[in-house]
Each structure stands twice: as C-alpha cells, then as structure tokens.
Amino acid sequence: MRIVVMALAVAMAGAAPAHAFKPTRTVEVVVHTGPGGGSDLLARAVATIIEKEKLLPVRMQVVNKTGGGGAVAAAYLAEKAGEQHTIGFFTGVWLTSPLTSAEAKVTLRDLTPVARLVLEPALIAVKADAPYKTLGDFIAAAKQQPGQLKQSGGSVTSRDNVVRQLLQKATGARWAFISFPGGGERIAALLGGHVNMMVLEPAEAGEHIRAGNMRVLAQVSDQRLAGFREVPTLKEAGFDVPAVPQVRGVVAPPGIPAENVAYWEDLFGRLARSASWRKFLADNQFEDGYQDAAELAKFYDEFTARMRAILQEAGIKTVR
C-alpha cells in the first residue's frame, strides 16, 4: 500500500511540473508595433491559431506598446516582473535597439526567454524593367557608380541594412540606403523607380512578382525557398555573406517561477508542431525557427555580438 502511494506520488510529481501552472485569466501579449505592424500581425495570427487548436484555456489579448524600436515594450515587460499572465513577442530589433539607444535600458537578457518561433528569409528584388538580371549585375553597376544606386528599407538597424552592409563589405561596392518607416512606402519607392533595389519578405513580394512588376535577384536564405526554387541563394550567387534572418519569438517578464516558463515553453512547442501553424508558415514562406528557452538565450548573445560589429562598421555609435 505504502509503495503504491509512493509510486503514485512519484508519478504525480513527475507529471506535475508541466501543469503546475495554468493561466486562469486572459493572457496579455505585448508587441512593440502598432496595430498592423509585423509583430502585431504575427501575435494576432498566433492568438487565432492557438484559439483554433484549443491550446490555451483562456483568451490572448494583444497589447501594443510602441516606440523606441522595442524599448518601450521591453521596459513594460521588465516592469511586470513576476506577472504570470503576460508574455511578449520580440524581434531582432529588441536586441539591436539597446545597442544604439541609451534609453533602451532593458535588453532581452533581462527578460525570461521562452521560445524562438520564426525566421523570416528575405528576397533581394529590383523593378521588373531594371537592367540587372543577377545580383552580380547590380553589384557591378554599384561599383561603376559608387553611391549612385539606392536601396529602400527600414531603419539603419534593420535587417535590410545589415544585408547591405554585409554585401558592401564583401564586394567593395557602395550604394545608398534610404530609410522608410512604413513597409508600404518602401515597395512604392521601388515600384515608382525612385530606388533601384530592396530587401523584402517573400510574402510581400509574391504578388508583385506574379504581376510582373518585380524581379528577384537572390534570396537571403541558406536553402532555396519552396516558392522560389529557381532563384539562387546569396552563396549560390557567389556572395559568401551570412543569410541574416529576421527573427521572431516569445519572452516572458523576469522573475516568474520555473513551472510557468515550462508551461509557456510547452504551449509554444505544441503550437510549433500544430498543423495550422505549419500552414501559416507555408502561406507566409516563413522558416520554422523553433528553439526552446535554453537555445534562445545562446542565440541572443551570438546575434547581439554580430549586430554590434555590423553597426560599428557602418559608423553607427553603439552605447552598449
């Protein structure tokens, strides 16, 4: 009898940690973009999929804490130390903003890592009537007229500019980078012929390619994407630069119990395996970037170190 009880207790203890914590009220999901921004849309899609797959007993509510390239959202999460019903969706910018902004005091290191979810590959595209047929053509043209060709993109710490910096360093070519805060404006600038090239996500480019308005020169990815079998990767095109992905994942406030971390890790692990999630990734041509909390922490350091070097090389003052 005693043995049975003990065995039961052991069995329960074994099963318990993953389920010791269960959210009892609406989970607040913090994102750093306004409604309609990349993180906001991903968080809302995740909330919809989690609801559809019935992975969470409560609802998820997206909260927009915009500003400072993620700094405001990160600080908000840090303030919520110990809060059990709050999580946040981060992107690479949460790692790079503290490098350039003195006020962005909270880094991802100060929050609790949960999971990395998505790696977004990118395409290097030009307008369909541009003379460049390959990335080599573009680089050669940029070398011939240094600083005359233009690329549209996000802020200087964005992935777009990182790809440019890496390519410039590898080839010695030089071209201008024009920042447009809105994704729509970047595409409009390319289609209007005001810039010569841009780095954009496959889902953004797909329809413009199909309509014959854009041509893809190369893909910023290690393997060829399913939708772009005929387009070479950077390496295949002859440019040995790392394929910098846009990274997206989940963090929690600092100081939450270990079983809570386990619960979130388990939830997003199950999400990453679900059929709806697979379909979502395929529809958007995202790469599955799933990593658990331990791997994610290691990823932070690698990514931050690489970004610091790139920013310094670009002549941008880093504060950390």
Binding site: P35, G37, T48, E103, A176, E207
Partner: protein, 503 residues
C-alpha cells in the same frame, strides 16, 4: 470587366441581407468609435480581426471597411460640441465647429459635418471605382521630394491659421515641429529630446497634445471667468437644429474641395487624413470671400475638413486594393485580414476577386447612406449636451479628455503630459497665441523630416533634388505663394491708405 456590370455584380453581393447587416454593424461601430476620443479604427479593427475568421470574407471586409469610414463621421461630434477632437483628422474641425457651437449653431455644424461626410464619402467611392488603377500608378510617381513639397505646402497653411500676429503663429508652429522631433530618430533609432525618460522614446502622441491644448486649455480659460458662466444657447425645434439652405449654399465649394483634396491625398501612401483635413481647410480659407471670419465659426470651415477626411478613406483603399500597398495602420490591418482569409492582395487582386472588390465598393455606397440616416437624427440629441450647466459640462470634458488619452496609451505619464499641454493651451490663449499652428507643426513635422532626409539621401546631400523634379517644384512654389499672401495683403492695405491720403 466594365464598370457597370461590375457594380451590378457588386450590389448583388452587397445587398444580400447578411451583408447589409454587416455593413450596418460596421458603420454603427465606426460611428461609436469615432465619437469616443482616443479609441481609433485601427485598434477596433485589430480587436475584431479574430472574429472575422469565422465570417464570410465579403461580409467581414464590408464590416471592417464600415468601421474605417464610419469612424470618420463620428469624429467631428466631440470636436464641435466640446472642443475635444475625437480623431486626429477632426482637429481642424474644432476651429470653426466649436465656435459655431458657442454661437448656438452646434446642430448646424453637426448636420453639415454629416452631409459633407456623405457627399465626400460617396465621391471617394466613385473615385475608387472609376480611376483606381491609373491613379495608383500616378501615386507611385510621388516620392520623398514630392512629399516634402506637399508637407511644405501644408506648413504654409500656417499663414491661414494665424490670428492677428503671423510671428506668434510661426512661433507656435516651431514649437509643434519641435514636439514632433521628440522621441526616437526614425532612421538611426537614436533618441532625441527624451531627457533620459523611457516614456518619451515613442514620442508624444498627437492626441495628447491636441486634447490638452484644445479641450483642457479651453476649459481652463472659461473657468477663469468671474461671472457664473451661462449654458450655451441651444435653439428649440428640429428645424432650427439642422443646417439651413443658406448653409448648404455656403458650403457648395467646400463639398467639392473636401471631396477632391481628400481623395487625392488619400491615394498617396505617405500622407493621411489629418494632412488632408488641414490642407482642405487651408484651401477653403484661401479661396473664401470671408477669409477673415474663419476661426470664428463659419460653416464651410467644418464642411471642408470633414469632407476631406471621409473621401480620404476611398483614396486610401486605392493603393491597398490595386497594389497591395498599405498607407496607414488601418489599411495595414485590412491587408492582413485579406491575407488571413486566404486572398493575395496585390496588383492582380481586383482582376482575380471581382466579387469582393465590387461588393466592397457597392457596400460603401450603401454604408454612406446608412451613416447619413444614422447621424442626422443624432444631431438634435447630441446638441442637447450643451444645455448642461458649466459645473457639469466642464468636469465632463475633463473626464472625457482623460479617458480619451488613457485609451490611446494606457500610461499615466501621458496623463501628466495632458495636464502640461492643457496648461500650455491656457497660457497660449492668455498671450493670444493661436493653437492650430502648433498642431499643424506637430502633424506635419515627422513626415516632413522623413521626406527631407530621404530626399537628401537620394541626392547624396544636394538640395537641388527638391526643385529639379516638376511635381515637387510646383508644390514648393505654391507653398511660397501662400506664404506671400499676408505680404501682398499688407502692401495692398498700405496702397489703399496712400491713395486715401492723396485724395
């Protein structure tokens, strides 16, 4: 497919009973969202997005678009009645709308806002239906130097928003431009004027400044009056509450101006409805025969901006539906919704999904009619608000302002800012500084800075890019012309005086 058969097909979709219902739900929600200061269409549409996953896409799109354009109707209500801008696009409406209310003409102002919204909203849909694809191509010709020209044109409006002193107006505008610079540098992501405060990293929200300077400043200035303030006059009888035939005649030009300017600016992905409303107000005033009365309560000062912010909606849908390019937060969410429902928004969207496009267009005609029917009877109801005595009205305005600001950000820091800007508004009134130029600088500052810096990046630092492109040059010269108006007026006055003396 030609337009007639497309539209016919569209009405077949939009007139299905469930879709009419969704249209009604959308515009009704939109009206409420518009009336509530703070809560805007992007937040509302984002909240409803998960619900639409279960709906038929046509019905869902009709409803979400209904919220988008419906909110533009409601936005004027609190601007006119309480000097509290309900949406950023309704700030300009405060200038003459609130003065009309103080004269006992709140009903006329609310009524004309609804009528102008209806006319311009319908024109916007017409534009979307008739000229969308060619206009979208034209919008692509617009880039940073052209945006700079447009913003300069907008800033030149300061001349028209100035009260007695142009110097004071320019000073107020500079403060507005400075406030726009607070926050994070959009290109290098370094911080500016944040004084080490994390809360300032996201910049100062336009709504906080507008509500503080307009609503709180007004309340503070009114409370100072020694004598017991009397409730504002509200005429009795429905007929006296609606715009008169004379009002409608006065607004003939405003209807056209608002509709056309709003739609054209809406088509540009980098502009927006706030800029549209400011520019149409400026144009209205520049061409008006009673220019000197603007700001004291002229009815076309309400009709022009309210029309512009409604036809802007139709314009903003042009790049979204013909190119898959969103120009604002709201259209970005609509784009995401289309993707979520399995569509591929882009250059081929209309050709491949004619039912959805034409259904939406047709529903917008229906929605605008519903909005007019919904809003006109509300006019007398809302006008009664002003019967409230001062001791009830002023605290209500302060309460509404606080709730409005808190819904936007959920931050107590912003409430402190609201108080600070309320005091600023009060001081500006005392010293006779006009507050509209401050708001104008704040609205245009960010976009203007981006456009200028982008242009200079394109030209590697050469300013000639701003004048060497015909569209940009045309707009800059027009801006210069507007800036010269006061000078010409002064010269003219001087000439008249000399002639008088010579006689």
């Amino acid at each position: 497919m030609d337009i007639a058969s497309g539209l016919l097909q569209g009405f077949a979709v939009a007139l299905q009973p469930t879709n009419v219902l969704w249209c009604f739900v959308g515009v009704f929600l939109g009206t409420i969202v518009g009336i509530m200061p703070g809560l805007g269409p992007p937040a509302t549409i984002a909240m409803l997005l998960p619900l639409t996953a279960l709906m038929n896409p046509a019905g869902a799109m009709i409803m979400l678009a209904g919220i988008y354009y419906g909110a533009k109707y409601g936005g004027s209500t609190t601007s006119i009645l309480l000097n509290v801008p309900g949406e950023s696009a309704s700030v300009v409406t405060c200038l003459d709308g609130y003065q009309l209310a103080r004269k006992g003409r709140a009903g006329a102002a609310l009524g004309i806002a609804a009528i102008a919204s209806f006319i311009a909203g319908t024109v916007g849909v017409l534009g979307l239906m008739l000229v969308a694809p060619p206009l979208a191509r034209l919008a692509l010709a617009f880039s940073s130097p052209e945006y700079f020209g447009l913003m300069a044109l907008g800033l030149a409006m300061v001349v028209l928003l100035a009260g007695r002193s142009l110097v004071k107006a320019l000073l107020a505008m500079l403060v507005g431009l400075w406030i726009a610079g607070i926050g994070t540098d959009p290109f290098s992501t370094t911080s500016r004027f944040t004084f080490g405060r994390m809360e300032l990293l996201s910049g100062i929200d336009f709504v906080v400044v507008a509500i503080g300077v307009f609503a709180l400043g007004e309340v503070l200035a009114n409370m100072e009056a020694r004598d017991e303030p009397k409730a504002l006059p509200v005429p009795k009888g429905l007929r006296n509450l609606l715009p008169t035939a004379q009002d409608l005649r006065d607004c003939r030009f405003a209807f056209v101006n608002g509709s056309v300017i709003g739609f054209l600016i809406g088509v540009l992905p980098g502009a927006g409805s706030t800029i549209a409303s400011f520019i149409s107000y400026g144009v209205e005033k520049a061409f008006s025969r009673r220019r000197d009365q603007f700001g004291t309560g002229v009815i076309e000062g309400v009709a022009a901006p309210e029309g512009a912010n409604n036809s802007e909606t139709g314009g903003a849908l042009v790049p979204l539906l013909t190119l898959g390019i969103p120009g604002s937060g709201t259209t970005a969410i609509l784009l995401a919704a289309l993707v979520l429902w399995g569509f591929k928004p882009g250059p081929l969207f209309i050709a491949e999904n004619p039912q959805l496009f034409w259904g939406l267009v047709a529903s917008m005609y229906i929605g605008n009619v519903i909005l007019l029917i919904l809003n006109l009877p509300l006019v007398p109801l809302f006008a009664q608000v002003l019967r409230a005595p001062a001791y009830a009205l002023y605290p209500a305005i302060i309460g509404l302002s606080i709730v409005g600001v808190y819904t936007v950000s959920g931050s107590l820091f912003d409430l402190a800012l609201l108080a600070a800007f309320g005091l600023l508004g009060y001081v500006m009134r005392k010293l006779d500084y006009p507050s509209a130029p401050l708001i104008l600088g704040l609205v245009l500052g960010g976009a203007m800075e981006r456009a200028l810096r982008q242009s200079l990046m394109m030209s590697e630092g050469s300013l000639s890019i701003l004048v060497s492109r015909p569209l940009a040059a045309a707009m800059l010269s027009f801006a210069l012309l507007i800036l010269l108006i006061p000078l010409v007026a002064r010269l003219n006055a001087w000439r008249l005086r000399v002639m008088e003396e010579e006689k």
